[in-house]
Structure formats: C-alpha cells, structure tokens
C-alpha cells in the first residue's frame, strides 16, 4: 500500500487542553458535578485498559482499547474543567486523591470478570452515558455542553459495540448465553444508583442532567436490546450505592493503587 493512498488528518476536536486553557472557572457546584462525570469515565477507562492484550481476539483488544481511550479523553476534559475551580490539574485529581474522594458511581469500578461481564458493564455504562450526554449537550453551561457534544458521538459507538456483543453472546452458544446472563446478574444491581438525584444535581437545574430524567430513555433503549437478545429485563437485588458520596465497593481501592502508584512513586515523572 502506497503512503499516498489515504488522506490522513488528525481533524478538529475539543480537547482537555482546550478546556484547561479556554474555559472559565466553574462554580464549586459545577466543579463537583464535572468531577463525578470525569471519575465515571476515568475509572471505566482504567478497567477497560486491562483488556489491551487479553480480549478473545486481537481485533477485540483494539476495539475495547479504543473505547478505553475515548473514556480517558472524556475524563481528561471533565477533570481539567473541575480542577479549574480548585487550582488543580487533571493529573492532581487523577493521581493524588484517595479512595473516599472519588465520586464515580459504583457501576464503573465493578471488575471486568469474564468478557461477558465486561460487556454487561459496557452495556449499562454506554446506554447511561448516551442518555446523559444527549441531555447535557443542551446544558446552560457552555463547557459541559461542549464536552458532552463531543463525547456523545463516541459513546454512541460504544453503545453499538456493547449491543452487538450482547446479541452475539445471548444468542450464541449455551455457554455464551450462560455467561451473558451471569454478567448481567452481577452488574445490574449497580444500575439504580446511576439515576438517583441528590442535593447537588437538584441545585444545578438547567446545568446538570438530572439523573432521574435519564431513566426513561435508558429503559427504553435497553429494553429494545433485551427483547432482541430474548432476555428478560433483570430485576431484584439493588446495591446500596453511595459512590457519589465517596463510598465504594472493595474493588476501587485496588484499582487506584495500580493506577496511581507510578505518579506517587515518581512525582512529576514524564516520558
């Protein structure tokens, strides 16, 4: 293949650097909200990165890693923006906060499990984030709206990726279906927390996307996939939640230890 056969360009996009340089300092409330969305994306990116050389096929390594990098991009934008309120960089927030200072929903820290469990988590995460960013792109806060508008297109693809695998695993072999159902059983208790309003989201009307307002769209789009998968919508046990308050399941501490060790052992390290 000759080098001139493709026109290659980086293209224009809204980046974390744009946010750090151009955005106005957010209020305390907006910053706390941006931190939640950034933590969701950051923790999911870290979990997905584990798959980089472990997916069922090389092609799937690349697919999951692309998704991880998209999530990391969203995290960088949200954390950069939140950090403006407190004079902190995205790295300060990612590497030098303790477990109880992370405000991601507990869904995102749930372990990869097998491939089916990862797909179950992706299915919930991407359908939730799609509804979230679709609403947030109309936010009265221009920076949140711009980050959401860019993220929406990427999350739309993540949603499609998860749907495709849900279908294939559910309708594939007895073993793949068993694993898909098991994955959903593990993940579904963490769905409810995503749609809880609280004092912070109530105080940001027109700026934040009220979590409870996203539920209808989520239920509709996931129900359509469940029907095609010939799976009943999971019900039953609901996890206690509390991720938005810094209360986490046993998995986040281990994840953070691995994610933060390099930055903490070698402050200011670059390569």
């Amino acid at each position: 293949m000759s080098e001139t056969s493709f026109q290659v360009s980086v293209g224009e996009a809204f980046t974390a650097e744009d946010v750090a340089e151009a955005a106005e300092k957010p209020t305390e409330q907006v910053a706390r909200y941006a931190l939640r969305l950034g933590d969701d994306a950051l923790i999911l990116a870290q979990q997905l990165g584990w798959w980089v050389a472990r997916a069922p096929e090389l092609e799937e390594d690349v697919a999951l890693t692309n998704i991880a990098l998209d999530q990391l991009g969203h995290a960088r934008a949200f954390l950069s923006y939140a950090g403006l309120a407190w004079g902190k960089t995205e790295d300060d927030l990612a590497y030098f906060r303790g477990e109880s200072e992370f405000v991601n929903a507990q869904l995102f820290e749930q372990p990869n499990g097998d491939f089916a469990q990862t797909i179950a988590r992706q299915f919930v995460a991407s359908h939730f984030q799609f509804e979230l960013y679709r609403q947030l792109q109309g936010s009265a806060n221009a920076t949140l709206a711009a980050i959401a508008a860019k993220a929406l297109k990427e999350v739309d693809y993540h949603r499609d990726h998860a749907d495709q695998w849900m279908l294939r695993l559910s309708l594939g072999t007895d073993e793949s279906r068993r694993r898909m159902l098991r994955g959903l059983e593990v993940i579904w208790p963490f769905v409810e927390e995503l749609f809880r309003d609280d004092e912070l989201t109530d105080s940001l009307k027109g700026v934040a996307a009220a979590p409870s307002s996203l539920l209808e769209g989520f239920e509709k789009s996931t129900a359509a996939v469940f029907a095609r998968c010939e799976i009943e919508i999971p019900a039953g046990f609901v996890a206690r939640g509390g991720g938005r308050l810094g209360q986490h399941t046993e998995f986040l501490g281990h994840l953070l230890a691995e994610m933060q060790v390099l930055a903490r052992e070698h402050p200011g390290a670059t390569w």
């Binding site: 293949m1 056969s5 493709f6 026109q7 290659v8 360009s9 980086v10 293209g11 069922p56 096929e57 090389l58 092609e59 799937e60 690349v62 697919a63 692309n66 499609d160 990726h161 495709q164 294939r168 073993e175």
Partner: protein
C-alpha cells in the same frame, strides 16, 4: 491456547477490508482482519483501519469469496499485452480536422 475460541476450528474467518478515503475516490484494499460475521467485520475495520481519520466508507468481503489469478499462470495472464502498443491511445496519430482531442 486451550480456552474456548482458541481451537483452530473455532477461529473467526478472515475478511478483506476496502476503505474509501473521500468522495470521488475508489475504495482501496487496506488489509484484512478476523471477525465472527459481516457486521462485526465492519466495526473491526472501523477500529483498525480508520483510527487516523482515513476513511468515509468501508467495504468488507469474506476473503474466501475472493477469486484470485493464479501466480503460476502469470505468463499466460499478463505477458500478452506487452508489445501490443496499439492498445494504447498514444499509438495512433491524430487525424487532421478532428477537434477536441
């Protein structure tokens, strides 16, 4: 590997990928990949061959559906046009009075 999907009989089939860089150009062969079916092949192609903004359209074709010319019959297939200059427009002289050539 002894894990499910690792056996030779279980590997995903091979697909050939064609990418069109922009409107007005043809699809060009970009490479190949493994995928369980056509829809996933398209998505894998998007992830593998358009990561750097290379394309606006993708085709995928099962590699097994492509019929290729036989390398051993190269002479019979490709030698014949050599020396047949009359197959090129430049062989002919321009006739007087013919406009717009």
């Amino acid at each position: 590997m002894s894990s499910p999907g690792g056996g030779e009989h279980e590997t995903w089939p091979l697909w050939e990928v064609f990418v069109r860089a922009s409107r007005g150009l043809s699809h060009l062969h970009a490479g190949s990949l493994h995928a369980p079916d056509a829809e996933m092949a398209l998505r894998n192609a998007r992830d593998l061959y358009t990561r750097r903004n290379e394309g606006v359209s993708i085709w995928v074709v099962p590699s097994s559906e492509i019929t290729t010319s036989d390398p051993d019959e190269k002479d019979a297939f490709f030698e014949s046009p050599k020396g047949k200059r009359y197959r090129h427009a430049g062989y002919y002289t321009e006739a007087e009075g013919v406009k717009h050539l």
